[in-house]
Symmetry: C2
């Protein structure tokens, strides 16, 4: 077990109509708020926009809006939000949506408190030191940004996707109304499940030893995702499974499951290049890449892959051929993603040729080699892209 520091100060409320508490919660921090959202048809037609604005008005909170967040959210919109906050002296940011909306809101919250350009945090020129209070109303459980210390943005000028991390990015409150997630279409539901499962995998595949508590918790979280994912595949409107997964997204990514050990995160970094170059959906990049990453690196730590196979997927351990057990676990992982209908090869997510592999691999390693379980350089990353072609 390694040393660690862990803080997750967010107040989480999960209940029917939790979103209606946004006025009361914002009011604890500010008389006005920047309401960040997708601004899409669903936001208005579903009545959610009206629910939020009414709840804010009822609490006496003045509301300014920043609609127009897109998947793989852009820094340009963040800059608009920062300007609006400064002009109107806004004291709190409320994200209503999924990870892209929350990451946008977080970027606004740190940008307002910073003299330079907000992209400095993402290009690692600066580290966020303070932020406006951030609240979230989660509608698309997946990235766990509603409880995490990170934010991912895309810079359309350079095509880069990059992240920044600091405890001041953790939301002050997160409101989870599972009913808001009952109508999420199957495709997004699946990518959300893959994303949260991957957040556990990135922490589980560690080279640290003797981390029994964190191991068992990771395995438990993964097993519960299997149970709830299967329930949702039978009935997308299963309230209990929706509620469980809503909370799972938080637990998978607030940092608890990394306590006391190093983490991997190579797959996220490799996948981010697919999002940047091909605008591929985050969860889709993970379902394609994770089994291939695993197949590429498993020899580095066979006991860990054997434990994964045995404890998460109930594969009996063949003590005479442990490698076989490890590979069976990887096969089960791929099978799980496929059972959800998630893609497993690159051409399913719009990557038809290998023309960008070299550049993407170099970009993935632009801050140095990646990965905690096995260190990967650009040549390794390119090899993984090639494996993912079939």
């Amino acid at each position: 077990m390694d040393q660690f520091e862990f803080m997750s100060p967010t107040k989480f409320i999960l209940q029917k109509d939790a979103d209606l508490l946004c006025g009361r919660e914002v009011k604890k921090y500010s008389e006005n708020v920047l309401f960040v959202h997708y601004g899409d048809k669903y936001m208005y037609d579903s009545g959610l926009h009206a629910r939020i604005t009414k709840a804010l008005a009822d609490a006496g909170v003045a509301c300014f809006e920043l609609p127009g967040v897109q998947p793989n959210p852009r820094v340009e919109l963040v800059r608009e939000g920062i300007e609006l906050c400064r002009k109107e002296r806004i004291g709190c940011v409320l994200a209503v949506g999924g990870g892209s909306v929350i990451d946008t809101a977080k970027a606004v919250a740190i940008g307002v408190k910073y003299d330079g350009d907000v992209w400095d945090f993402y290009s690692r020129k600066a580290v966020p030191a303070e932020a406006l209070p951030i609240g979230t109303v989660m509608t698309l459980p997946a990235t766990g940004s509603e409880g995490s210390n990170g934010s991912v943005l895309k810079n359309t000028e350079t095509g880069e996707s990059a992240d920044t991390m600091a405890d001041c990015l953790r939301p002050s409150f997160t409101l989870m109304n599972p009913e808001l997630t009952l109508t999420i279409p199957k495709r997004q539901t699946v990518f959300g499940i893959v994303d949260m499962f991957s957040h556990v995998l990135e922490r589980y595949f560690s080279s640290s030893r003797e981390t029994y508590l964190t191991d068992y918790m990771c395995e438990g979280v993964m097993k519960s995702i299997l149970v709830n994912a299967r329930a949702l595949m039978k009935d997308l409107k299963d309230y209990n499974a929706r509620a469980e997964l809503m909370w799972t997204a938080v637990v998978a990514h607030n940092g608890l499951l990394a306590a006391g050990r190093n983490q991997d995160w190579a797959t996220h970094t490799i996948g981010a290049q697919l999002s940047a170059q091909y605008n591929a959906v985050h969860g889709a990049t993970l379902s394609v890449l994770f089994p291939n990453w695993a197949a590429y690196v498993y020899k580095e730590n066979i006991p860990r892959f054997v434990q994964f196979a045995n404890r998460v997927f109930d594969v009996d351990i063949d003590l005479y051929d442990q490698e076989k057990t490890a590979l069976e676990g990887i096969r089960k992982l791929r099978e799980f993603f496929e059972s959800l209908g998630a893609p497993s090869v690159l051409n399913e997510i719009g990557v038809e040729s290998d023309e960008k592999f070299t550049k993407m691999a170099q970009d993935a390693c632009r801050f140095g080699s990646i990965g905690g379980l096995r260190t990967l350089n650009a040549a390794d990353v390119e090899a993984i892209y090639r494996m993912a072609q079939s």
Copy 2:
């Protein structure tokens, strides 16, 4: 899965010499501090007292001391602490010790901010609304008070033990140096293990349904306690097991493992009377009572006791005789506590006769019936005391 609200804002730092960070951390809140501790021989001879006072002095924090905390901490000392804080205008409370010290510090922190007598919170005449910032340096992992929202005190005038709970009781920071725990004698080590295991049991034995995530996490935490407890029984100076258990005490009791369901807590309430009447050690009351409580209530929810037997203690499920499996799990629980050398019958903890059973049972139910899995009245509680005689 039920609705829930969960917040655990404490910053946790686990590392060698973490205690030396107390000056830096206190300084974020206040220029002076009330340093609460046992004031026993160990505190001075071990050098811990000197380490803490030097760390505070080095950070420029003025230090006032409240030594003299005893196990089953007394409200009288709390009142002294409150007076001292008011007189010296102290802005932060630092607990250095185990649960009794932390619970004392918490009581001081809420008492300072309250006009009436601090016991009002424990007699449920008032609910704590605000507190001085609380920091802890954990030396005796067990109660989890270093991450929890609760405090337990004893009122020597009435003989009552009682608790109070509110989010303002959660520490701002908790510093965990596993090296400080290497010399904990076996007896206290064991009671700490029983206590943290029991905190999971109280949450695990729930009547709520379909809480897969929380179930799996509870089971994982219990399994990791089994692993680390066995390691410590072989070598009390096993640093890794000490570090794991130090963090486990927090996870077991910060509320995470109750997310989305009701809890039981009858056993703690029944045991508190043994502490009040016989000054029995908290962990010892739990090791005696938990298997007896389980044997008394298991028929209320056989599937849950079967799941416990199977997933925590690897008992194969006899589907033709599920009650047998449930009982085997309870036997394994008793066996685990006994394997640590923890007591299993009342006369081992100084309770030689049944003379106080009726009164203790009535006192245990003074706020109404108790227990979430099965509701117990005073007659049930008395029956459990009788079962625990042999």
